[in-house]
Assembly symmetry: C3
Homo-oligomer: 290 residues x 3
Amino acid sequence: MDSPWDDLALAFSHTSMFPFFDFAHYLVSVMAVKSQPGAVALAWKNPISSWFTAMLHCFGGGILSCLLLAESPLKFLANSTNVLLASSIWYITFFCPHDLVSQGYSLLPVQLLASGMKEVTRTWKIVGGVTHANSYYKNGWMVMIAIGWARGAGGAIITNFERLVKGDWKPEGDEWLKMSYPSKVTLLGSIIFTFQHTQHLAISKHNLMFLYTIFIVATKITMMTTQTSVTFAPFEDTLSRMLFGWQQQFSSSEKKSEAKSPSNGTGSLASRPSDVASDNVKKKLTKKNE
Amino acid sequence: MDSPWDDLALAFSHTSMFPFFDFAHYLVSVMAVKSQPGAVALAWKNPISSWFTAMLHCFGGGILSCLLLAESPLKFLANSTNVLLASSIWYITFFCPHDLVSQGYSLLPVQLLASGMKEVTRTWKIVGGVTHANSYYKNGWMVMIAIGWARGAGGAIITNFERLVKGDWKPEGDEWLKMSYPSKVTLLGSIIFTFQHTQHLAISKHNLMFLYTIFIVATKITMMTTQTSVTFAPFEDTLSRMLFGWQQQFSSSEKKSEAKSPSNGTGSLASRPSDVASDNVKKKLTKKNE
Amino acid sequence: MDSPWDDLALAFSHTSMFPFFDFAHYLVSVMAVKSQPGAVALAWKNPISSWFTAMLHCFGGGILSCLLLAESPLKFLANSTNVLLASSIWYITFFCPHDLVSQGYSLLPVQLLASGMKEVTRTWKIVGGVTHANSYYKNGWMVMIAIGWARGAGGAIITNFERLVKGDWKPEGDEWLKMSYPSKVTLLGSIIFTFQHTQHLAISKHNLMFLYTIFIVATKITMMTTQTSVTFAPFEDTLSRMLFGWQQQFSSSEKKSEAKSPSNGTGSLASRPSDVASDNVKKKLTKKNE
């Protein structure tokens, strides 16, 4: 199996993230901070607060996974080089005369390159999280999925929490845990890499990393160039119909039978024997929903 | 001391919580989630958020005690069997056609049995927490009490915190740390088991577990059947009079002497010499209370 | 180098904090709790909540540094003697008849002595935090600074967070991370002691402890007696001009050139070549600030 493809995937999986990919990740994160309303004015008035927010955006996933594994949330500070790199990017982005960095970043090819490279770091983070969690809990596959997910997409949770503490953000019961697209694709990746790690997927790790990275980079670039958003909607619908569908069938047949209530005998066969019971349930449900 | 009673208590203290008692605990916790207004509608719209809330209710005490001992808050996920059991109960409770589980649970004997069995798990959790804390801090009796309490009754704190983050709950300064009855009885149990563990109570552990369990199960069932609430009010009053009473005596005698201010000489003997000083204090207090 | 000064500094650096200095620290902290509006009434109504707040004020720095190093936040409870000392002070302060403690504390010399002694404990905490962090992360100088800072001044963060959870405090985006004077002087101390620890400062630790303690005690007492507030404003201005000044220069020259816009040629030489570019930047900035 020493094919050129395999060689390429293996070489790719040994790529070091450090200077270039990390740089792209920090740049995209800091530009996200800067694009928030009022961020530039805040940086002038209170640079330390702005720097702190930028660091949370750059290292949020790592901080969350440390908290979940009961490691020091300051662990990222021990890697001085990366913190200094991120700080320099924050400094240049916010305080560069004539806003040169923002002007450069506003070119589409630059954005595409940086975002694509940022997605590559996501794969590395998921794999790192899954492996790290495995060293704590042998075969604790749920923990592995959770940590891979937290490291890959946890920055959003950390930064939302920061905004909550700062009073910038009022959470709504509905929005809580409603996942964004990056969050979903990271969860999917975390599940796949966990199953690969527990030997339930007959594919080598470097091949999987290569394929997953191509998938997320391609999706990201497609989304950015076509201004559309890729969703998992069909897949989610199928899954939700599999899991909750038989119940929804009852609900919809109830509704139908309700709509047809004058001609009572036209309900579907499946719904008829349960009509009385389901009415009780419906009343209960509506009571509880009030 | 090999009496039948002792044998019974010993056998009882070796009962495994796993399938049946844990099942009852998860059932009662999930039904508590379901009885919240809007919970059923939320489960249809956002199942992951609902599942997350249910897990916090089922494993909240363990999560809090892990946080307080600097262990991974995801430790409970490593025990896949229990998580799957709790998830199944959540799934059946929320999505069972015709709401069969809720209908079954609405029968009083079922509720009594489930609640009684849930209280049994409380004893096991307190003892587990106290023993676990002792393995970290030898003779750190305050830590032992706190961890026993957190594991036995900490779910309420975790779930309140979740509601705070979700924006469902506005805390009031007054309500903070105002303890509910389960919280108080768990604190009492935690203190008792800690003193037993540090050899300050001349009673064997299995006897104490048996007696404490009988006490909390009996109280719970009495409260549920008679719809009254057992309170520690007399005990608390005594304690608070012991601790703060002599000061309250002063306050009340001050009030009396104030009421009788026209006939200035009729104050009690104890209060008279301190009248001037206490007036100063009162003014300060009222100033500070404004 | 066995001068009397050196002997004095060495003896000073071996002073034990335990009974007297810790007492002063707890007293000042509890009096700060008591001076909050409504604190006395709350203590009568809900003593446990009041006690909890007092403990957070007394041990907040230690709790925060434990959280940041992934140690148990209950570690302070293991030191029963100190907790009992702090609890006694809380009890006497809040429930002493005729408010004797508050009356005694209202005398300026008592306040000066207590506050001075409290500042001494700050030095010990910073040094302890720096040394402790070094035992986790060899040469992780950022972690050392952060932990020294957290232990010395972290109580404010913990107590603000408690007020946030209790609903007493609404944070404003602007105030977040705006540091108070104690916070700044602790950060400075933490940086100095970290550099001393990593051998970048050619001064012995006991001498540095002595000098730093004299500095913070003297500043504190000056501030209390003269009712003025010492600020680092000139130092901060210099630093901020060094870091962000060249950019501000551009901004101000832009403003000037804007003011002089009718006579367009009078701008300073430095600002002229960049006028067009800087206008673009200005527009962007104002857009983003909207």
